[in-house]
């Protein structure tokens, strides 16, 4: 069992690298991209619980992100709340809206649910444009920044990093323990899961509400990282990006979607000319992964790692126990 010793070392090294990033790079723009990846990750980590573990294809999480962002800007900017309190309030609002959206739509089968969430994303961006008294319409509104230690690019990066780490820890705990088993079970076979007393609907609903909460938190952080929000920032394509990140990372793996999110966010930002074709490539990558590599890159890495460790594949290790079988057959005959 070498990998149990390797794993904490890898995680520790990665954490050290992540914390030290502001000192390592002097480039503020790279830091901004890293912050953005962290913000997306806060949303994607729990969306992965919903999409990857539970198998509920939510395309419209960008709507929850938008609500979180607007709630944060209105409460912290307009009402003068403490930003941290406003961030939590935005998360709570999104959790409630997630509950209201999930109550009817999680009863629906796969494609119906995907369509309902897609419609939710479209509705939110429509209303953000239309309800000018609340959102300023297409003009948008400025986003407040966080108080003293977190108001510099580096400070804000550490704040996002802290929240992302916390969310990752919570997600990993959920996925590892009883809840994760229940989610995977109901994804793979609803009938079989309910026959062993997994509460199907309640499990889905709780995961959806939890992912709504962190989507709201991510919304507030997203608003601050952009400093100014307009309805254009929350187009449905962004929701598809979250979705693609999870699928190419690998469904049902914690770290896979992180790699997916980082790669997908970094490529258009760092390679300028690609930005125009971004959504096209998301579609292309999604198609290729679905057709060629349905488990995503996470599964590929896991398979390669197992090969590297020369661990026997569990699928090939089923050998009939011939002597006892022979005895059994003979015993029956005799």
């Amino acid at each position: 069992m070498t990998h149990t010793r390797i794993k904490p070392v890898v995680v520790g090294l990665f954490a050290l690298l992540a914390v030290a990033l502001p000192w390592m790079t002097g480039n503020v723009y790279y830091l901004h991209v890293a912050t953005l990846i962290g913000v997306y990750w806060v949303l994607i980590a729990t969306l992965n619980l919903l999409v990857g573990f539970t198998g509920q294809l939510s395309v419209g999480h960008v709507g929850l992100l938008a609500i979180g962002a607007y709630a944060f800007c209105l409460l912290a900017g307009g009402q003068g709340w403490n930003p941290f309190l406003a961030l939590l309030a935005g998360g709570a609002i999104c959790a409630v809206i997630g509950l209201l959206l999930g109550l009817p739509s999680l009863r629906l089968p796969g494609f119906y649910f995907a369509m309902a969430t897609l419609a939710f994303g479209l509705i939110v961006s429509e209303l953000a444009l239309a309800e000018q008294w609340l959102t300023n319409g297409s003009v948008g509104m400025p986003a407040p920044s966080f108080p003293a230690p977190f108001d510099t690019p580096g400070g804000f990066y550490w704040l996002v990093l802290g929240i992302a780490g916390l969310v990752t820890w919570m997600t990993a705990n959920l996925a590892r323990l009883m809840w994760g088993r229940a989610m995977v079970a109901l994804r793979d076979s609803t009938v079989a899961a309910s026959s062993v007393a997994v509460p199907i609907y309640r499990t889905k609903l709780i995961v959806f509400v939890f992912s709504g909460f962190t989507a709201g938190i991510a919304g507030g952080l997203y608003a601050t990282s952009q400093t100014y929000i307009t309805p254009d920032a929350f187009i449905v394509n962004l929701g598809i990006y979250f979705f693609v990140a999870i699928i190419i990372g690998g469904r049902g793996v914690i770290i896979g979607p992180f790699i997916g999110a980082a790669v997908l966010a970094a490529i258009p930002e760092l390679v300028g000319p690609l930005a125009k074709y971004g959504t096209f490539f998301y579609g292309l990558i999604l198609l290729i992964v679905v057709l060629v590599l349905p488990g995503g890159f996470g599964e590929l890495i896991a398979t390669l790692a197992a090969k590297l460790r020369r661990e026997p594949q569990s699928a090939t290790s089923i050998e009939p126990d011939l002597p006892s079988l022979r005895n059994a057959v003979r015993g029956q005959k005799a």
Partner: protein
């Protein structure tokens, strides 16, 4: 007021046609394609570009529109559906059709721009209020399409094979039906019908790259309200949704259209999950 009702019914015809296209693909493959609305978008943009920019005659534009729909339908079966259906993972087709639909939409917007462009007049008619062709064309074509599909399903050999596959694909295969070829054929047919709906509704919606997603969603709502697999249901569901959309826009403003539409969908699915004209499927194991 009359104009509101007429335009609602015209929109309803367009939604109903999209729902019929969903049905054609669903019958042979049990796949609800995310790209269903994109057929109309591709057909509409192709026609508008050929006729208005390159000055082709209209009949040539119509033929090109139908050919582009057929090609796109066939390609979507080959690329996004065939291997997925063979692998029989029920979640993956949502992803593959979503991916293809996103790619097509982005490609169209990159080549032809994101601004809606006008669509050519189909018939030489002065604008005639509620009797204008942009209203009655989608309505009449929707009814024709539904009647034609019903006749096709009931009288022609190929249509009967579609029905056989929709009831039990394995049994149909065991009886010697070339199920793969039939599936391709149904997607080509769906592409042609979808492009035709884009042609009929072009004057109503304009040639717009974002039409596909909106139409895919509205057509799906019409389908779910009417009940999957029913042609009458598709027409009725489309008409209900179109009227509701039009009345909402008239009384409350256009920004609440989608909210009302999705409200209708969720309300109906909670009360009657199989839709108005659908049949129940209770067996899960």
């Amino acid at each position: 007021m009359l104009l509101v009702i007429v335009s609602g019914l015209a929109l309803g015809g367009l939604y109903g046609m999209t729902a019929l296209v969903y049905n054609v693909m669903y019958s042979t493959s049990k796949v609800l394609s995310f790209g269903t609305g994109q057929f109309a978008m591709v057909g509409g943009i192709c026609t508008a570009w050929l006729v208005l920019d390159l000055h082709w005659p209209l009949w040539a534009g119509l033929i090109a529109c139908l050919v582009s729909g057929a090609a796109f339908g066939w390609l979507s079966e080959v690329i996004a559906v065939r291997r997925i259906v063979a692998a029989s993972d029920e979640h993956l087709w949502v992803l593959s059709t979503l991916a293809l639909s996103t790619m097509v939409q982005e490609a169209m917007s990159l080549v032809w721009g994101t601004d809606p462009t006008p669509f050519p007049r189909v018939l030489p008619q002065e604008f005639a209020g509620i009797f204008d062709q942009k209203f009655w064309l989608p309505m009449i074509l929707a009814v024709l399409m539904a009647v034609g599909l019903e006749q096709f399903y009931r009288r022609s050999m190929v249509g009967k094979l579609f029905i056989a596959m929709s009831e039990d694909s394995f049994a149909a295969r065991a009886r010697g039906v070339a199920t793969d070829r039939m599936r391709s054929l149904s997607y080509v047919l769906a592409g042609v019908l979808g492009a035709l709906s884009g042609f009929a509704g072009g004057q109503l919606t304009f040639a717009d790259f974002a039409l596909g997603t909106a139409l895919g969603l509205s057509g799906f709502i019409a389908l779910a309200v009417g009940g999957i697999g029913s042609s009458v249901g598709a027409l009725v569901g489309g008409a209900i949704l179109g009227m509701l959309t039009s009345l909402t826009a008239h009384y409350f403003g256009a920004e609440y259209q989608k909210t009302i539409a999705i409200g209708l969908l969720i309300l109906l699915l909670v009360v009657r999950p199989q839709g108005l004209f659908g049949t129940t499927q209770v067996r899960q194991v």
